[in-house]
Symmetry: C2
Subunit: 157 residues, 2 copies
DNA sequence: ACCGATTTGAAAATGATTTTCATTTTCAAT
DNA sequence: ATTGAAAATGAAAATCATTTTCAAATCGGT
Protein backbone atom coordinates (compact mmCIF):
# COMPACT_ATOMS: atom_id res chain seq x y z
CA UNK A 1 0.00 0.00 0.00
CA UNK A 2 2.71 2.44 0.98
CA UNK A 3 4.64 0.89 -1.85
CA UNK A 4 1.76 1.49 -4.20
CA UNK A 5 1.36 5.04 -3.05
CA UNK A 6 5.04 5.63 -3.45
CA UNK A 7 5.10 4.61 -7.06
CA UNK A 8 1.67 6.07 -7.65
CA UNK A 9 3.07 9.46 -6.79
CA UNK A 10 6.08 9.20 -8.98
CA UNK A 11 4.28 9.86 -12.26
CA UNK A 12 5.28 13.52 -12.30
CA UNK A 13 8.99 12.64 -12.16
CA UNK A 14 8.97 12.08 -15.88
CA UNK A 15 7.14 15.33 -16.53
CA UNK A 16 9.72 17.34 -14.63
CA UNK A 17 12.75 15.49 -15.87
CA UNK A 18 11.46 15.72 -19.40
CA UNK A 19 11.53 19.48 -19.13
CA UNK A 20 15.01 19.52 -17.63
CA UNK A 21 13.91 20.15 -14.06
CA UNK A 22 15.47 18.32 -11.17
CA UNK A 23 13.76 16.03 -8.72
CA UNK A 24 14.46 17.55 -5.33
CA UNK A 25 13.33 16.73 -1.82
CA UNK A 26 11.27 19.91 -1.41
CA UNK A 27 9.45 19.22 -4.65
CA UNK A 28 8.71 15.67 -3.63
CA UNK A 29 7.33 16.68 -0.26
CA UNK A 30 5.18 19.43 -1.77
CA UNK A 31 3.72 17.00 -4.28
CA UNK A 32 3.07 14.53 -1.48
CA UNK A 33 1.13 17.13 0.44
CA UNK A 34 -0.88 18.06 -2.63
CA UNK A 35 -1.73 14.39 -3.05
CA UNK A 36 -2.63 13.77 0.56
CA UNK A 37 -4.78 16.82 1.12
CA UNK A 38 -7.40 17.41 -1.49
CA UNK A 39 -9.08 20.78 -1.46
CA UNK A 40 -8.17 24.35 -2.08
CA UNK A 41 -4.89 24.92 -0.34
CA UNK A 42 -3.19 28.26 0.03
CA UNK A 43 0.57 28.51 -0.28
CA UNK A 44 0.75 28.85 3.48
CA UNK A 45 -1.48 25.82 4.08
CA UNK A 46 0.96 23.84 2.02
CA UNK A 47 3.94 25.40 3.73
CA UNK A 48 2.61 24.44 7.18
CA UNK A 49 1.87 20.92 6.06
CA UNK A 50 5.21 20.44 4.34
CA UNK A 51 7.08 21.62 7.43
CA UNK A 52 5.85 18.59 9.35
CA UNK A 53 7.84 16.38 7.01
CA UNK A 54 10.60 18.77 6.08
CA UNK A 55 10.94 21.57 8.64
CA UNK A 56 13.76 23.41 6.95
CA UNK A 57 11.71 24.33 3.90
CA UNK A 58 11.20 28.00 3.11
CA UNK A 59 7.94 29.59 2.06
CA UNK A 60 9.81 30.91 -0.94
CA UNK A 61 10.39 27.42 -2.18
CA UNK A 62 6.74 26.58 -1.81
CA UNK A 63 5.80 29.54 -3.98
CA UNK A 64 8.46 28.73 -6.54
CA UNK A 65 7.50 25.09 -6.73
CA UNK A 66 3.81 25.88 -7.06
CA UNK A 67 4.55 28.30 -9.85
CA UNK A 68 6.53 25.61 -11.61
CA UNK A 69 3.79 23.03 -11.20
CA UNK A 70 1.16 25.45 -12.43
CA UNK A 71 3.29 26.25 -15.45
CA UNK A 72 3.59 22.52 -16.18
CA UNK A 73 -0.14 22.00 -15.83
CA UNK A 74 0.28 19.67 -12.87
CA UNK A 75 -1.44 22.05 -10.48
CA UNK A 76 -4.33 24.48 -10.90
CA UNK A 77 -4.24 27.92 -9.36
CA UNK A 78 -7.54 29.45 -8.32
CA UNK A 79 -8.53 32.82 -7.00
CA UNK A 80 -11.68 32.99 -4.96
CA UNK A 81 -11.30 36.62 -4.05
CA UNK A 82 -10.08 36.32 -0.47
CA UNK A 83 -6.67 37.76 -1.25
CA UNK A 84 -4.70 34.56 -1.47
CA UNK A 85 -4.37 32.07 -4.29
CA UNK A 86 -5.47 28.48 -3.88
CA UNK A 87 -3.74 25.49 -5.37
CA UNK A 88 -4.91 22.03 -6.20
CA UNK A 89 -3.61 19.07 -8.19
CA UNK A 90 -5.13 19.14 -11.63
CA UNK A 91 -5.00 15.38 -11.98
CA UNK A 92 -2.87 12.39 -11.36
CA UNK A 93 -2.67 9.29 -13.52
CA UNK A 94 -5.56 7.97 -11.46
CA UNK A 95 -7.31 11.19 -12.43
CA UNK A 96 -8.61 13.60 -9.86
CA UNK A 97 -12.09 14.41 -11.07
CA UNK A 98 -12.38 17.74 -12.81
CA UNK A 99 -14.93 19.90 -11.06
CA UNK A 100 -16.53 23.29 -11.02
CA UNK A 101 -17.29 25.66 -8.17
CA UNK A 102 -20.12 27.22 -6.27
CA UNK A 103 -18.93 30.32 -4.42
CA UNK A 104 -20.97 32.00 -1.69
CA UNK A 105 -20.80 35.77 -2.11
CA UNK A 106 -21.47 36.33 1.57
CA UNK A 107 -19.30 33.93 3.52
CA UNK A 108 -16.90 32.93 0.79
CA UNK A 109 -17.57 29.23 1.14
CA UNK A 110 -16.60 27.22 -1.91
CA UNK A 111 -18.37 24.01 -2.88
CA UNK A 112 -16.97 21.69 -5.52
CA UNK A 113 -19.38 19.87 -7.74
CA UNK A 114 -18.87 17.48 -10.57
CA UNK A 115 -22.28 15.93 -11.16
CA UNK A 116 -23.31 18.17 -14.03
CA UNK A 117 -20.12 17.92 -15.94
CA UNK A 118 -21.52 15.52 -18.50
CA UNK A 119 -24.35 17.79 -19.52
CA UNK A 120 -22.03 20.75 -19.37
CA UNK A 121 -19.54 18.96 -21.53
CA UNK A 122 -21.63 19.01 -24.68
CA UNK A 123 -21.99 22.73 -24.47
CA UNK A 124 -18.34 23.24 -23.67
CA UNK A 125 -17.28 21.19 -26.66
CA UNK A 126 -19.51 23.14 -29.00
CA UNK A 127 -18.48 26.48 -27.57
CA UNK A 128 -14.81 25.63 -27.58
CA UNK A 129 -14.97 24.63 -31.21
CA UNK A 130 -16.65 27.87 -32.17
CA UNK A 131 -14.29 30.02 -30.15
CA UNK A 132 -11.23 28.21 -31.41
CA UNK A 133 -12.22 28.92 -34.95
CA UNK A 134 -13.34 32.49 -34.52
CA UNK A 135 -10.46 33.74 -32.39
CA UNK A 136 -7.73 31.29 -33.34
CA UNK A 137 -7.53 30.26 -29.71
CA UNK A 138 -6.17 26.87 -28.74
CA UNK A 139 -8.23 26.09 -25.67
CA UNK A 140 -6.60 23.93 -23.04
CA UNK A 141 -8.75 24.44 -20.01
CA UNK A 142 -11.79 26.14 -18.63
CA UNK A 143 -13.23 27.57 -15.46
CA UNK A 144 -16.90 27.51 -14.58
CA UNK A 145 -18.10 29.08 -11.38
CA UNK A 146 -21.47 30.04 -9.99
CA UNK A 147 -21.82 32.81 -7.44
CA UNK A 148 -24.70 33.16 -5.04
CA UNK A 149 -25.87 32.63 -1.50
CA UNK A 150 -25.22 29.33 0.19
CA UNK A 151 -27.92 27.72 2.29
CA UNK A 152 -26.43 28.98 5.54
CA UNK A 153 -26.33 32.57 4.33
CA UNK A 154 -29.85 32.79 2.90
CA UNK A 155 -31.70 32.90 6.20
CA UNK A 156 -29.85 36.00 7.36
CA UNK A 157 -30.55 37.94 4.17
CA UNK B 1 -27.27 64.32 -25.90
CA UNK B 2 -25.33 65.42 -22.87
CA UNK B 3 -28.71 65.72 -21.29
CA UNK B 4 -29.55 62.18 -22.26
CA UNK B 5 -26.28 60.84 -20.99
CA UNK B 6 -26.70 62.73 -17.80
CA UNK B 7 -30.01 61.14 -16.98
CA UNK B 8 -28.97 57.86 -18.49
CA UNK B 9 -26.21 57.61 -15.92
CA UNK B 10 -28.34 58.47 -12.98
CA UNK B 11 -30.02 55.07 -12.67
CA UNK B 12 -27.69 53.94 -9.90
CA UNK B 13 -28.69 56.91 -7.71
CA UNK B 14 -31.78 55.07 -6.66
CA UNK B 15 -29.84 51.91 -5.93
CA UNK B 16 -27.43 53.70 -3.62
CA UNK B 17 -30.00 55.89 -1.93
CA UNK B 18 -32.25 52.90 -1.45
CA UNK B 19 -29.52 51.27 0.61
CA UNK B 20 -28.92 54.41 2.63
CA UNK B 21 -25.73 55.39 0.81
CA UNK B 22 -25.07 58.97 -0.15
CA UNK B 23 -24.53 60.37 -3.61
CA UNK B 24 -21.14 62.02 -3.56
CA UNK B 25 -18.98 63.69 -6.16
CA UNK B 26 -16.26 61.02 -6.05
CA UNK B 27 -18.84 58.31 -6.57
CA UNK B 28 -20.37 60.13 -9.48
CA UNK B 29 -17.06 60.66 -11.19
CA UNK B 30 -16.02 57.04 -10.67
CA UNK B 31 -19.29 55.82 -12.14
CA UNK B 32 -18.83 58.19 -15.07
CA UNK B 33 -15.42 56.72 -15.77
CA UNK B 34 -16.76 53.20 -15.56
CA UNK B 35 -19.42 54.19 -18.09
CA UNK B 36 -17.09 55.95 -20.47
CA UNK B 37 -14.35 53.37 -20.56
CA UNK B 38 -15.52 49.85 -21.17
CA UNK B 39 -13.02 47.12 -20.57
CA UNK B 40 -11.18 45.59 -17.66
CA UNK B 41 -9.97 48.50 -15.58
CA UNK B 42 -7.69 48.21 -12.59
CA UNK B 43 -8.26 50.41 -9.56
CA UNK B 44 -5.30 52.49 -10.65
CA UNK B 45 -6.59 52.82 -14.22
CA UNK B 46 -9.75 54.25 -12.76
CA UNK B 47 -7.84 56.45 -10.33
CA UNK B 48 -5.79 57.98 -13.14
CA UNK B 49 -8.85 58.57 -15.25
CA UNK B 50 -10.86 60.06 -12.40
CA UNK B 51 -8.07 62.46 -11.54
CA UNK B 52 -8.57 64.22 -14.86
CA UNK B 53 -12.03 65.28 -13.74
CA UNK B 54 -11.45 65.40 -10.01
CA UNK B 55 -7.76 65.74 -9.17
CA UNK B 56 -8.13 65.74 -5.40
CA UNK B 57 -9.46 62.19 -5.25
CA UNK B 58 -7.51 59.62 -3.29
CA UNK B 59 -6.79 56.09 -4.40
CA UNK B 60 -8.34 54.96 -1.15
CA UNK B 61 -11.68 56.36 -2.20
CA UNK B 62 -11.47 54.56 -5.50
CA UNK B 63 -10.94 51.25 -3.72
CA UNK B 64 -13.71 51.95 -1.25
CA UNK B 65 -16.16 52.99 -3.92
CA UNK B 66 -15.38 49.97 -6.06
CA UNK B 67 -15.88 47.67 -3.11
CA UNK B 68 -19.24 49.30 -2.48
CA UNK B 69 -20.30 48.99 -6.09
CA UNK B 70 -19.24 45.35 -6.21
CA UNK B 71 -21.19 44.66 -3.04
CA UNK B 72 -24.27 46.24 -4.63
CA UNK B 73 -23.85 44.24 -7.81
CA UNK B 74 -23.33 47.35 -9.92
CA UNK B 75 -19.76 46.41 -10.77
CA UNK B 76 -18.06 43.09 -11.39
CA UNK B 77 -14.65 42.34 -10.00
CA UNK B 78 -12.43 40.00 -11.97
CA UNK B 79 -9.10 38.44 -11.31
CA UNK B 80 -7.08 37.39 -14.32
CA UNK B 81 -4.03 36.39 -12.36
CA UNK B 82 -1.79 39.38 -13.00
CA UNK B 83 -1.81 40.52 -9.40
CA UNK B 84 -4.37 43.26 -9.64
CA UNK B 85 -8.13 43.12 -9.72
CA UNK B 86 -10.11 44.36 -12.70
CA UNK B 87 -13.42 46.12 -12.49
CA UNK B 88 -16.20 46.57 -14.97
CA UNK B 89 -19.81 47.76 -14.92
CA UNK B 90 -22.09 44.75 -14.71
CA UNK B 91 -24.93 46.48 -16.52
CA UNK B 92 -26.81 49.68 -16.80
CA UNK B 93 -30.52 50.04 -17.50
CA UNK B 94 -29.62 49.94 -21.16
CA UNK B 95 -27.83 46.72 -20.32
CA UNK B 96 -24.16 46.16 -20.96
CA UNK B 97 -24.04 42.80 -22.64
CA UNK B 98 -23.00 39.99 -20.34
CA UNK B 99 -19.94 38.24 -21.68
CA UNK B 100 -17.45 35.53 -20.99
CA UNK B 101 -13.68 35.46 -21.33
CA UNK B 102 -10.89 33.84 -23.26
CA UNK B 103 -7.62 34.14 -21.36
CA UNK B 104 -4.23 33.47 -22.97
CA UNK B 105 -2.06 31.50 -20.58
CA UNK B 106 1.10 32.83 -22.16
CA UNK B 107 0.68 36.57 -22.68
CA UNK B 108 -2.31 37.11 -20.41
CA UNK B 109 -4.42 38.69 -23.10
CA UNK B 110 -8.13 38.63 -22.34
CA UNK B 111 -10.75 38.50 -25.07
CA UNK B 112 -14.41 39.10 -24.32
CA UNK B 113 -16.96 37.12 -26.25
CA UNK B 114 -20.71 37.08 -26.11
CA UNK B 115 -21.76 35.22 -29.22
CA UNK B 116 -22.24 31.83 -27.60
CA UNK B 117 -24.22 33.05 -24.67
CA UNK B 118 -27.53 31.87 -26.05
CA UNK B 119 -26.45 28.30 -26.47
CA UNK B 120 -24.63 28.46 -23.18
CA UNK B 121 -27.73 29.76 -21.52
CA UNK B 122 -29.70 26.53 -21.83
CA UNK B 123 -26.97 24.66 -20.05
CA UNK B 124 -26.60 27.31 -17.42
CA UNK B 125 -30.30 27.28 -16.66
CA UNK B 126 -30.38 23.53 -16.35
CA UNK B 127 -27.27 23.39 -14.22
CA UNK B 128 -28.31 26.26 -12.02
CA UNK B 129 -31.62 24.59 -11.31
CA UNK B 130 -29.94 21.35 -10.34
CA UNK B 131 -27.33 23.00 -8.19
CA UNK B 132 -29.85 25.21 -6.47
CA UNK B 133 -31.83 22.21 -5.46
CA UNK B 134 -29.00 19.95 -4.47
CA UNK B 135 -26.95 22.45 -2.49
CA UNK B 136 -29.61 24.96 -1.50
CA UNK B 137 -27.65 27.61 -3.31
CA UNK B 138 -29.39 30.74 -4.57
CA UNK B 139 -27.38 31.47 -7.70
CA UNK B 140 -27.09 35.10 -8.70
CA UNK B 141 -24.25 35.10 -11.14
CA UNK B 142 -21.74 33.01 -12.98
CA UNK B 143 -18.29 33.10 -14.45
CA UNK B 144 -17.22 31.19 -17.53
CA UNK B 145 -13.68 31.40 -18.75
CA UNK B 146 -11.59 29.47 -21.25
CA UNK B 147 -7.83 29.28 -20.95
CA UNK B 148 -5.48 28.53 -23.76
CA UNK B 149 -3.06 29.99 -26.28
CA UNK B 150 -4.12 33.00 -28.29
CA UNK B 151 -3.33 33.19 -31.98
CA UNK B 152 -0.25 35.36 -31.45
CA UNK B 153 1.24 32.99 -28.90
CA UNK B 154 0.78 29.72 -30.80
CA UNK B 155 3.53 30.29 -33.34
CA UNK B 156 6.21 30.61 -30.67
CA UNK B 157 5.22 27.46 -28.85
C1' DA C 1 33.64 11.67 -5.39
C1' DC C 2 33.54 15.80 -8.51
C1' DC C 3 31.82 19.79 -10.91
C1' DG C 4 28.81 23.04 -13.07
C1' DA C 5 24.22 24.24 -13.18
C1' DT C 6 20.14 24.33 -10.73
C1' DT C 7 17.71 24.90 -6.54
C1' DT C 8 17.15 26.42 -2.02
C1' DG C 9 16.22 29.46 2.00
C1' DA C 10 16.62 33.77 4.80
C1' DA C 11 16.03 38.31 4.54
C1' DA C 12 14.73 42.27 2.20
C1' DA C 13 11.88 44.31 -1.30
C1' DT C 14 7.68 44.92 -3.70
C1' DG C 15 3.21 46.39 -4.55
C1' DA C 16 -1.71 46.05 -4.30
C1' DT C 17 -5.08 46.76 -0.97
C1' DT C 18 -6.70 48.07 3.74
C1' DT C 19 -6.73 50.64 7.97
C1' DT C 20 -6.48 54.79 10.73
C1' DC C 21 -8.02 59.12 11.93
C1' DA C 22 -8.72 63.98 11.49
C1' DT C 23 -11.24 66.78 8.23
C1' DT C 24 -14.89 67.53 4.90
C1' DT C 25 -19.29 66.60 2.81
C1' DT C 26 -24.01 65.10 2.50
C1' DC C 27 -28.82 65.50 3.49
C1' DA C 28 -32.86 65.30 6.60
C1' DA C 29 -34.77 68.26 9.76
C1' DT C 30 -35.36 72.80 11.00
C1' DA D 1 -31.04 78.70 3.62
C1' DT D 2 -28.96 76.81 7.99
C1' DT D 3 -27.66 73.27 11.10
C1' DG D 4 -25.79 69.14 12.92
C1' DA D 5 -25.16 64.25 13.14
C1' DA D 6 -23.72 60.63 10.42
C1' DA D 7 -21.33 59.18 6.49
C1' DA D 8 -17.61 59.78 3.33
C1' DT D 9 -13.07 61.38 2.09
C1' DG D 10 -7.99 61.58 1.66
C1' DA D 11 -3.14 61.34 3.28
C1' DA D 12 -0.21 58.56 5.51
C1' DA D 13 0.86 54.40 7.63
C1' DA D 14 0.04 49.54 8.01
C1' DT D 15 -0.81 45.00 6.17
C1' DC D 16 0.21 41.03 3.95
C1' DA D 17 0.67 37.86 0.02
C1' DT D 18 4.08 37.28 -3.23
C1' DT D 19 8.64 38.18 -5.49
C1' DT D 20 13.48 39.25 -5.66
C1' DT D 21 18.24 38.86 -4.14
C1' DC D 22 22.20 36.33 -3.30
C1' DA D 23 25.22 33.19 -0.93
C1' DA D 24 25.06 28.34 0.37
C1' DA D 25 23.36 23.67 -0.51
C1' DT D 26 21.82 20.11 -3.67
C1' DC D 27 21.28 17.47 -7.92
C1' DG D 28 22.78 14.40 -11.45
C1' DG D 29 25.77 13.37 -15.33
C1' DT D 30 30.64 12.28 -15.54
Amino acid sequence: MAQHDFFGHMWWHGRLRGHGYRITVPRQVILDVLHSREGHLSAEDIYIEVRKEYPQIGLTTVYRTLELLVRMGIVFKFDFGDGRSRYELSEGPEGFRHHHHLVCSVCGRVIDYSEYLDSEQQLLDKTEAGLSEKYGFKITNHLIRFYGLCDRCQSGE
